[in-house]
Assembly symmetry: C2
Homo-oligomer: 185 residues x 2
């Protein structure tokens, strides 16, 4: 069964916003989705609302590609390293432009934009995961470690996204150094 | 004396590209500069060329706000920490949207774009500075340390730019941990 117009729009939005940025036009989005502009505006108030909905509906999928399974029996240290192994692996794929939630916020430059709010929350959820693992792993300062790991996450994603670094041999040693310094064994 | 049309266009470009992103229109740029579109196209082949020229001509100024003076007598460790103190200080300013050279590359999503090439080179110059100081400071692996510090630089700038972190109490401890691990005393 062919996906619904709404699904096709969300799918096209995910692909085109990531590839071309938030400036991509409504016509290109509708064309890629095979949906008329009239239909699009019946489903979404505006392109901004489509972007926000797209980021929101794909948040669980996005976090699932990064986070380890709940209670997988591994240590907090291993679970944190799992996230960064995913980052390194994703960065190696062709057409990688960095974290879509970070990119949307950088491009929109408006923290009150509905899509920025969604992106901000998704990234806060990732930091919350890292903080919980840092605490569980006995970090001397779980808040600091969670901020440091979030910084590495975003630094790694953007540098790979712009082709400034391959991340190979970079992310794991960096995270390991920070985990060691925080006492997470 | 009023700056030349070329100077006014470069100044308007620096402000508006940083504030609104690379999607800002030619009309807005010309209006802010007080220059006709006809004059703009006599001076720059395209908006892309204006963006590339703006990034290129402001590169020295940009690096000068970050880097310590040559041979200021301080240790490599102190000179590296100087860069990150500047990052933290800049991030505290209102209307901070992160490193303009990083933002341009993220927004353009095309490494062959003339402005991306300029931005790539400016960021490579910063990494080269960090690598030289890492080597001078006796880092066990100067390449790795320079990549780590570049990652922290971009991670810190973007996270402050999107309002995800204030950087207070984050950047200095992170850089210190990496310097210590690399044996840069």
């Amino acid at each position: 069964m062919r996906p619904s117009p709404r699904e096709r729009l969300l799918e096209a939005a995910a692909t085109l916003f990531h590839r071309y940025g938030v400036g991509i036009g409504v016509e290109a989005l509708c064309k890629a989705a095979g949906v008329s502009k009239r239909s699009m505006y019946q489903l979404f108030e505006s392109k901004n609302e489509l972007l926000a909905a797209c980021l929101k509906e794909r948040a669980s999928l996005y976090l699932a590609t990064l986070l380890p399974a709940t209670d997988d029996g591994r240590s907090s240290r291993e679970r944190i390293l799992h996230v960064f192994a995913q980052v390194e692996s994703q960065a190696g794929a062709p057409e990688f432009y960095g974290c879509p939630y970070l990119a949307a916020q950088i491009e929109l430059k408006d923290q009150r934009h509905p899509a920025s709010r969604v992106a901000h929350q998704v990234k806060a959820n990732l930091t919350a995961f890292l903080r919980a693992e840092a605490e569980q792993g006995g970090a001397s300062d779980p808040d600091l470690l969670a901020r440091q790991l979030s910084l590495v996450f975003d630094g790694a994603g953007t540098r790979a996204g712009i082709g400034a670094d391959t991340l190979t041999g970079l992310v794991a040693p960096t995270v390991t150094t920070l985990l060691d310094a925080a006492g997470v064994r």
